[in-house]
Amino acid sequence: MRNPPYPTVLKPYGQALVKLAQERSEILCLTGDLTRQCEIDLFQEALPERFIHAGMAEANMVGMAGGLARRGYLPFVHTFGVFATRRPLDQIINAVAYPSLPVRLVGFMPGISSPGGPSHQAIDDVALMRAVPNMTVVDVADAVEIERALPAITHVPGPVYLRLKRGEIPVIFDDDHEFSLHSAQVIEDGDDIALIASGMMLSAALAAAAELRDAGIGTKVLNVPVVKPLDEETVLEAASGVRAVVTAENHTVIGGLGSAVAETLAGAGLGRPLRRLGLQDTFAEGAKSAPSLFRRYGLGTQDLIDTAWTLLGAPGTAPRAAPAPSTPGEYAPV
């Protein structure tokens, strides 16, 4: 694994999709008027005959994808996460999930990574998709995972929701990183507290773990790129080896990763104090940039450190997180 500050790359998903589609002729690419923002301008250039512009009409786009999938195609449907899950929810359920068709819904700009206001922030997409039977839900953390996840999800017989960051994508893992749709990974070990993270919160969890370890707290970090089906065995193993658990998700704490972990612990009768970091049942208003939203709504590295510190009843004051490096090229809401 690399050390921060992580290098970033552009369009790893777009490149991986073109490569995959060149090998598999049944792959189609659908867009809902956010082509460049979803990195699929690359697909449009490389394979225009398999590129379908559905316009800004998500319900129809998902319904069409269902029809295409029934006739043997493998449609990848692209828009922002909000519009991929909220607008066409009934179509996702009836035209795709109930018949368990291999449609891939790819939603960009997760959680409060968008300063575009509540209408553009997918803070509930994981919860919505988790609630739908037959759906697989993937929320990856870096460019390496994106490259690995993409071929992997083509083998899932039913529908998949893939949640992707937009813009500069960090490279956290080494090239030999192994990705599995069936297993979460312990990437740092320790026996006091477990930080369980998905997607954009993994880098914050790793930064918090470094500070906590320096302060003498044994910190385990569990990466959970697949929120559904959850690798319950690894989650239980991780939780049973520590005194307390903190989950971190760029999403509301209701119905996402934190809920999935809580359900797993409760179901197994494993009692561990648990705190869920994420949006505390609120919409996120009023920002020029994503970092200010992460600070204001308690999704920063310091929030993770403070939460772990308090939860363990550690003495004195919690260590201070190093200031986050400024991220170049912050994108606009669109």
Binding site: D33, R36, H53, G55, V82, G117, H120, G286, A332
Partner: protein, 268 residues
């Protein structure tokens, strides 16, 4: 104190919307300026014409257009102009994409295609409350016509003869991926609405006289009415580069300065 402009001032009011919008965007270096440039005369004609803020409801269906409504409201004395300087900054209620905190309108939504249904709700509410004088004006963008919900609202409004409802459609042929006409054929726009039972006008959306005439007739018609304004996202600013992105214009400092000078000279 509300100071509404005289009808004759509509063209000037439109350029004031442009200038105020430009000043909101310039510190950011990019933003939704194209929306203000294309809708300036449409919104100015509304303020100079039939819209009465205390009596009527105003809906901005595409939340990305809120910049033009912030500008118009400040121009009409309905919004403190100091607030415009906070546009798009941390903690401001004047978000780039409209939210529930947005001033200047009764309803907006950043998720496109939903505003007309809200406007229909307002019109129904006025009917139920026996407020025959109250009118509902809704700005809708042509891109929103790709969303099915708009047509559900259109059918309902005509079926229920919601004559107090007037839609102003900004037909600027622009969406994120490029020209609307290259992605989905929405023409013939006016005939589509007529076939749904609306009275429809199709005019040059930068011609304030044509807009005001259409609006005056529209509000008298017992049917719901739509005024389709044909517009351009770079209208009224020669300083913008050829082929500027209509949905999200990049505005480097030198271009912003030239554009400001151009508008200030015209308004002098």
């Amino acid at each position: 104190m509300t100071v509404l402009p005289l009808a004759a001032d509509a063209a000037r009011f439109a350029d004031r919307i442009r200038l105020r919008s430009l000043r909101m965007i310039a510190p950011h270096g990019f933003g939704y300026l194209g929306q203000a440039l294309s809708s300036a005369e449409i919104i100015a004609s509304l303020y100079a014409g039939p819209y009465r803020p205390a009596r009527d409801d105003l809906v901005c269906s595409p939340g990305h257009y809120m910049i033009a409504f912030y500008a118009a409201a400040a121009e009409a004395g309905l919004l403190d102009e100091q607030e415009l300087a906070t546009y798009g900054h941390d903690g401001s209620a004047l978000e780039a994409i409209g939210t529930e905190r947005s001033p200047a309108v009764d309803l907006t939504c950043g998720s496109l295609g939903q505003g007309l249904s809200g406007a229909v709700g307002f019109a129904l509410a006025h009917r139920l409350a026996a407020e025959p004088q109250a009118r509902v004006f809704s700005l809708v963008s042509d891109g929103e016509l790709e969303e099915g919900q708009v047509w559900e609202a259109a059918m309902f409004a005509a079926h229920h003869q919601l004559g107090s409802l007037t839609v102003l459609l900004d037909a600027n042929d622009s969406q994120v991926d490029g020209q609307l006409s290259s992605i989905t054929t929405i023409e013939p726009i006016a005939d589509k609405w007529r076939s749904f039972g609306w009275t429809a006008f199709d005019v040059d959306g930068h011609d304030v006289n044509a807009l005001e005439d259409a609006l005056a007739t529209a509000v008298e018609d017992p049917r719901p009415a739509i005024v389709v304004g044909r517009t351009s996202t770079v209208h009224g600013l020669a300083a913008l580069p050829e082929g500027a992105d209509g949905h999200f214009i990049k505005l480097p400092e030198d271009v912003a300065e030239a554009a400001t000078a151009e508008l200030e000279a015209r308004l002098a």
